[in-house]
Amino acid sequence: MVMQLSRCPISKNQVIAPGYFLMEIESPEIAGEAEPGQFVMIKTRDGLEPLLRRPLSLHRISSTSIELLYQVIGKGTQSLSRTRPGEFLDLLGPLGKPFPLPKSNSGSTLLVAGGMGIAPILALAEKIAKRSKVLPAPRLRQAGKGQRSRAPLKIHLLYGAKNKANLVRIKEFQKLGVEVKTVTEDGSAGRKGLATNLLRESLVSSPGQISAVYACGPRPMLKSVARIMKNKKIPLYLSLEEMMACGMGACLGCSVRAKGKEIHYLRVCQDGPVFETGEIVL
């Protein structure tokens, strides 16, 4: 994995929901190296305010460009939202460890997203869907039928947001054949509840074997996902956020406690942002 440091042209930057922006950046170099789960550090504008780069996940990866999905929070994301197509931004990436793909190409994979946690999940769904089309399903191949057919791997998105407007990009998931279930905290769309409610139900109702669970969202959500999945013997991958400065493992600023008796920290930017649940204490 080779990271790049370069000024890249913005080809798209549009509002897709109140305070939510979708940005497309042309960079064959970054796109060519990038994997779902990784992120970029962006200098949102020249000058001292804000001082540091901002980490944003890869929302989508094509052959020549990347897409970012971001919510306007403060100074950095605000100035990002004012960037126009044709302007250039300084990017460092791709950074961090990607999501490992499910080991098995059958059964079902659960993607749990809370709020802006949806951002890296689309890239992951695209990658899993693409792979399951290329690889023949294990059972069919064993039966000696020879021809390629759609693998029975099923992707489920369990997606919770504050309200209806904050549920974004659902069509993109559906186009991939992902089965989408949504909840909102205020009940303005679908049922009222949290993504973790959907996870509990899916564990009960899911017909086949669950090959892996992936989660990205606020820390409390990740904690409860980890609690629910405890002792289930299903691989669980969590994508974490922490304040970052360098984004590449040098400053030791973005620590998360590693599991174990002795106090020891891992770097979210370099050892993560994707961790297997057994590696860390949330």
Binding site: M3, L48, L51, A250, L252, G253
Partner: protein, 310 residues
């Protein structure tokens, strides 16, 4: 253009170094810049035993600044020598090891260990870290303890040693003098300023440890002033640091009296900044009609009458 500079007996091919704690052990940044082209690589602070560091959050951004409370997380001297140093050597980096102890005995032991190891250009003695319970800043706040740490290290090594001083003192000149008396070959000025920030919505401190060290452009005027004061009162070799984010910022330090500079926070934002500054520095000297970096150091134009009044 001759960019060579000397800090006592430490000779550097150019005066742009990377600061301790902002460059890890060099591995992370190596894909982005050639370490052999840096004036020097100052390592993350190394202690006798590995240290886990402080609990997160360890970072907070402030106006033109960065607060950190890393707490000197490091792999310890054994693993540094075994796993990290060979890489730096292979890259042909000019390695300056930043060391930190909780007691005089620990500083002594570290000096002894590094004295016997090849491929190290010098030691930087950290007596100024605000983010640890014991040692560090405690030593650097008083002239007496400053001198003792330097004497202890000096007694055990023939390597060039730099004392890294804290700005969190009333009289920097007094501390600088003590460090030189103790046997330092030069001084690194400055480490971070103590600071804190509060999230008003949650009413919680932004750092888990509440108080941390402030770095970045916000502290630059303080750093330039300290370099100037020390350079003027004592003629000692100084490496300046604090908020360097451009060639212009680096130039201020040279003109104030520094013979070299270190880049910390600026590197976290632009990993290639040291090389950019190195390039632009040569151009600046040319424009000013100066033949080398030596002729710029301390070369601030000021009327004699004003200087006397300070």
């Amino acid at each position: 253009m001759n960019l060579k500079t000397k800090i006592g007996k430490l000779v550097l091919q150019n005066p742009i170094l990377v600061a301790s704690g902002c460059f890890g052990y060099g591995e992370e940044y190596a894909p982005l810049l050639d370490l052999s082209r840096l004036g020097g690589v100052v390592t993350k602070g190394i202690s006798l035993k590995p240290r886990p560091g402080n609990s997160p959050p360890r970072l907070a951004e402030t106006p033109a600044g960065l607060l950190n409370s890393i707490g000197l997380e490091n792999v310890g001297v054994d693993r540094f020598v075994e796993d990290k140093l060979p890489f730096l050597r292979k890259q042909k980096a000019c390695v300056i090891v930043n060391i930190f102890g909780e007691s005089l005995g620990e500083y002594r032991k570290l000096a002894e260990i590094f004295n016997d190891i090849d491929g190290i250009a010098g030691l930087e003695i950290n007596i100024s870290c605000p983010n640890v319970e014991r040692g560090g800043l405690e030593f650097g706040l008083k002239p007496d303890s400053t001198r003792k740490v330097l004497e202890t290290v000096r007694g055990k090594t023939s390597l060039p040693i730099l004392a890294k001083l804290s700005p969190n003192v009333t009289d920097i000149v007094e501390i600088a003098r003590a460090a030189m008396t103790g046997g330092a070959d030069g001084l690194t000025l400055i480490n971070t300023l103590k600071g804190m920030a509060i999230d008003v919505n949650t009413r919680r401190p932004k750092l888990a440890r509440v108080i941390g060290g402030l770095s970045g452009p916000a502290i630059r005027p303080v750093a330039v002033r300290m370099v100037y004061e020390v350079a003027r009162k004592l003629s000692v070799p100084i490496i300046g640091a604090g908020g360097i984010d451009s060639t212009e910022a680096a130039l201020e330090f040279f003109i104030a009296g520094a013979r070299a500079v270190q880049i910390g926070t600026g590197l976290l934002i632009d990993p290639r900044l040291p090389l950019t500054i190195g390039r632009e520095l040569a151009g600046y000297l040319d424009n000013q009609g100066l033949k080398d970096i030596e002729s710029l150091v301390g070369n601030m134009l000021i009327e004699k009458s004003k200087r006397r009044k300070e």
